[in-house]
Amino acid sequence: MSTTILTRPESLSDRKFHYCPGCSHGIAHRLVGEVIDELGVREKTVGIAPVGCSVLLYDYVNFDCIQAAHGRAPAVATGVKRANPDSVVFTYQGDGDLASIGMAETVHAAARGENITIVFINNAVYGMTGGQMAPTTLTSQVTTTTPFGRDCGIAGHPIKVPELLSSLEGATYLTRVAVNNPKNVNKAKKALKKAFQIQIDGRGFSLVEIVAICPINWRMPPEKALKWLEDSMLPLYPLGDIKAEQGVS
């Protein structure tokens, strides 16, 4: 006799992820799927896939999905939400998509208090194009376009997205989580659920930054990548709420 201990969320399709070994996208996708299931909003959810490794998000989810131009997902989400205010709309974006080419769309969606949710994957590199410097690349971090390490005098400083957005009245919930161990995965799920709930309640803009690993482009085995995340990324990108309105739980 067999017992089912884990099933795929209804909000995920049965397509196998194409992601590299150790990549955090699989966990993040699953958490989004679980949260949408638990909130019972799958049939009115519209996901916006970015340009980047998660461009194929639309294949992995089991709800309506739109593929957006590079960086434009928050603008596309704005169009969807305003056209159809009953829908539950989220974007799923990497650091290059959101914080480099799409910074204007990100900031202004937050400034308008768009009632959408952004799931922001920060792994400190451009993944799909092969590991170039991202806006969140750490000081001295070696990437394929910072072969001598990121020199902030030349290549600028890493951007802390939720901190940057926290001065905006329109942003309701800004938080940073990681998916590097089971405890943090549970916390990440709670944050995502809260972010979607804020949207469902019509309370405005929410963004969950997920600090993630990219072992292939970091040129590290997954275990070492997890340690690098803890030792190098988390001191710069500390976990926890950056902005959470009183009474939002």
Binding site: E43, V46, I66, A69, T78
Partner: protein, 353 residues
């Protein structure tokens, strides 16, 4: 049927409201600001969506999202702003999303000026964005047509799941004329069902709006499908206006506001005994090549544009060497004068009656 005195830019807004356009996303740029301002007042009053976006880039992507949701949506801008929208327009065409984009052209290149121009003909009809795609491009030549063609644009966009561009200019946008709102003209413009829209998957399989096809064979199939659609549009939607062409020996080809001036030149030429006529393309894409082909016995064609010579290339392609084709144009916001057009006709050896 009602009659109203309307500014050209306002006529676009009025027609969009009458066409059940649910969302407008814009960004200020001269000489089309009245369009944004019109929507900012009338969309909230109608319980619809107006957003002043942070950029033209954001505005066109908001259109992409709204169109994907299955509602009628539009944006507008002027030349430099339209350049910024071109990325989004390529995506809209690739994902086969219906929408309307109005370009109230000004002189370029670069920041150019704010006076009227027709120098975005190439951009509108030949691509502008990346990839093998086509926009349906409508060229109004008065405020009445700004109204009528905006209504037609929403209809054609839905019919073919394709972006449609209204190609006007600062002259048209700023002038006032009487507009007759005749509902008979839009009798068949009913909004179709959009079962492909991403508006929540309740009671059906999920929908995906996308222009990415990583498998080259599949991307080629997608392109073939688009090309077949463009072939049908070319077959079915060529629109053109002609004036005194039946006995014409010299024909002027001109679109938009320039065609108004060209029409006056035809009358002046006729007064001088020159058998002149006018072909005014209404659809710039699909270009009404059939009409030009049917006049391949005329002595010569003079193309008159407010640019350095853009539509003239399509005229030459259409007559395929059978008729000599000349060009007269002004650029930078300068307006062609009818007397200069007549002088060109005389130089071309205008036949006396």
């Amino acid at each position: 049927m009602t009659k109203e005195l309307l500014k050209g830019n306002d006529a676009i807004g009025a027609a969009a409201i009458d066409s059940n356009c649910q969302c407008y996303f814009g960004y200020p740029i001269t000489p089309q600001n009245e369009i944004c301002e019109y929507f900012s007042e009338h969309m909230p009053k109608a319980g619809r969506v107006f957003i002043q976006a942070e950029s033209e880039v954001a505005a066109i992507n908001m259109v992409y999202g709204a169109a994907a949701s299955g509602v009628r949506a539009m944006t507008s801008s002027s030349s430099p702003g339209i350049s910024l929208k071109m990325e989004g327009i390529s995506y809209l065409a690739g994902a086969e999303l219906p929408c309307v984009v109005a370009n109230i052209m000004r002189g370029g290149p670069g920041l150019g000026g704010i006076q009227p121009s027709q120098s975005d003909y190439f951009q509108a009809t030949k691509g502008g964005g990346h990839g093998d795609y086509r926009l349906i491009v409508l060229a109004p030549s008065g405020v009445q047509e700004l109204y009528d063609f905006t209504r037609l644009a929403f209809h054609l966009a839905d019919k073919y799941r394709n972006p449609v561009m209204i190609l006007g200019d600062g002259f048209l946008g700023q002038m006032m004329e009487v507009v007759v709102k005749d509902s008979k003209k839009s009798d068949n413009f009913e909004e179709p069902e959009k079962p492909w829209a991403t508006n929540g998957c309740k009671g059906r399989e999920k929908n995906i709006i996308n222009s990415l096809y990583l498998d080259p064979a599949v991307l080629e199939q997608h392109n073939n499908k688009l090309q077949e659609k463009y072939r049908q549009i070319t077959e079915n939607e060529q629109r053109v206006d002609t004036y005194l062409t039946d006995d014409a020996e010299l024909i002027i080809a001109s679109f938009g506001i320039a065609a108004r001036i060209a029409k006056e030149a035809v009358d002046m030429a006729r007064d001088k005994g020159i058998k002149a006529g006018l072909i005014r393309p209404i659809t710039l894409w699909p270009f009404p090549g059939k009409t030009f082909t049917s006049y391949s016995k005329v002595k010569a064609i003079l193309t008159v544009e407010m640019n350095a010579g853009q539509m003239v290339e399509d005229v030459r392609l259409a007559v395929n060497g059978k008729v000599p084709v000349y060009f007269h144009g002004r650029t930078g916001g300068m307006i062609p004068e009818s007397k200069d057009i007549v002088a060109e006709l005389e130089k071309m050896g205008g036949a006396k009656v």
